[in-house]
Subunit: 280 residues, 2 copies
């Protein structure tokens, strides 16, 4: 056993020293799916500072989806009445250059691996990161919020595409798990509802913590996080679930706890976000 352990120690990628990130200008709306219902239009208009009288233009990124034309059409129909003009990244030659000319970004859901791969290959991963850290309003939904943590290592999605790296935008120094669900899953078989024998969501996040130290925030269906600088609001009326390595999961309704978590993670080297790293 010692020899094999040594071998892993030598061959495994080492955690990089996390660069200091200035999060003071962030202006984020992070939606799990189905979030905010009737208040959604209002919250989105506030994020982008848009109204029919004061229209804004955003870069829409639907890389997570296969049919980006259809997604762009849906978003246009939905957002234009709010005074938000949508330009879909897949329709322009140089989406990175376009970022200098828009007022905000919206990265929508689908498959997180496909999204991250295309963000990396197009150069948008780094470009959006820099713009959002400088204050550009960013809205993400589902896969679009997985990429706002240090890595996509707590996505629920199937790894249908292999990105060069799992590292993401690190807007928040904790991992995000969207569509968070407590307890067992069930499914129908032979006319009966039976418990699923595979891992629960908490089991999977605990597996993550067997190999990684970064805290994980589970954002329930119908919930959202509104983040300005390091100030966090929890929208949607449900608690989020905070998973920290070696501690029991905690239900959080007071968003100040998340703000404190950001401060703590930034000032505690031991739990700073790190690059993907497999323990021996």
């Amino acid at each position: 056993m010692p020899e094999l352990k040594d071998q892993f120690d030598k061959s495994g990628p080492q955690p990089a020293v996390a660069a200091e990130v200035d999060r003071s200008q962030l202006n984020l709306l992070l939606l799990s799916n189905g979030a905010l219902a009737d208040k959604r239009a209002e919250v989105i208009s506030e994020l982008y500072g848009a109204s029919p009288e004061n229209p804004k233009t955003i870069l829409f990124v639907a890389f997570a989806l296969n049919d980006q034309d259809a997604a762009a059409k849906r978003m246009t129909a939905w957002l234009e009445p709010l005074g938000i003009k949508v330009i879909s990244a897949h329709t322009v030659a140089d989406p990175v250059a376009l970022l200098d000319k828009v007022d905000g970004v919206f990265v929508t859901g689908g498959n997180t691996f496909r999204l991250l791969d295309k963000l990396q290959k197009s150069g948008l991963l780094e470009a959006i990161k820099q713009k959002a850290l400088a204050g550009m309003p960013y809205m993400g939904a589902s896969a679009g919020i997985n990429v706002t943590g240090p890595t996509i290592m707590t996505t629920n999605d199937m790894p249908i595409v292999q990105p060069a790296s799992f590292e993401a935008m690190n807007f928040v120094p904790f991992q995000i798990n969207p569509h968070y669900v407590d307890g067992k899953f069930y499914y129908e078989e032979g006319g009966k509802v039976v418990p699923y024998q595979g891992e629960t969501r908490a089991d999977r996040i605990n597996q993550y913590h067997e190999d990684n130290a970064t805290p994980v925030v589970g954002v329930r269906e119908g919930s959202a996080l509104r983040i300005k600088g390091k100030a966090v609001e929890i929208l949607g009326g449900k608690p989020v679930t905070l998973f920290e390595q070696g501690k029991p999961a905690a239900e959080i309704t007071d968003a100040k706890i998340l703000s404190s978590l950001i401060e703590r993670l930034e000032s505690t080297p031991a739990v700073k976000p790190r690059t993907p790293f497999s323990k021996p």
Copy 2:
């Protein structure tokens, strides 16, 4: 759009030409979880050709689990009465060398990303592949059957570790989805059972087929595949579900269809298993 598309075409990894694989000597038992119940001991004894009078020794690989000591202890207690001596890969200095001295392999479940990463780093991925293709009995459970397809790109697991590649052992030329479940998932919230809003398993496999051509076989909980050469048996009394790109999902009870699928995939270059490849 054309320019961005071109950029992806140039930068994306290209599919490798699949090497010819001779599967005629394979002797596999691929268990989804909870498979075979009371018949499990009999089927496993048959696989390894073991009995208390004619004991065999196997290499047990629990790399998918965090607590490998506990897993090895459980397996020993379970298999030794059947005449199967268990040596856990994590307890030996050179598990690759040990493969020359054992009669079979058992790769058990847990997290598929962690498993593949450690199989790659220890050299066991290639070593087990060569031994099993030469006829060594191989049993896999859950994550241990994800690694028997061309890639792990249809695992249900969370990507808690980043392996160097998603490519796996390619014993079968189709992808495997263990714990396969039809239709919607449900969960309990506020005392009620509510439908999960995230993707169904079929949705996820359809996403895989938006970017990849390899067929996917969903193996239900409680089911197993017994494979000798290209001859397949479906154990457990439930159908498997076959997903082919561009076709509706099909329920398969006649295992000869899977044998034919193997023949067809081996003789049809267009749908040969390929390396992870992201479409523009």
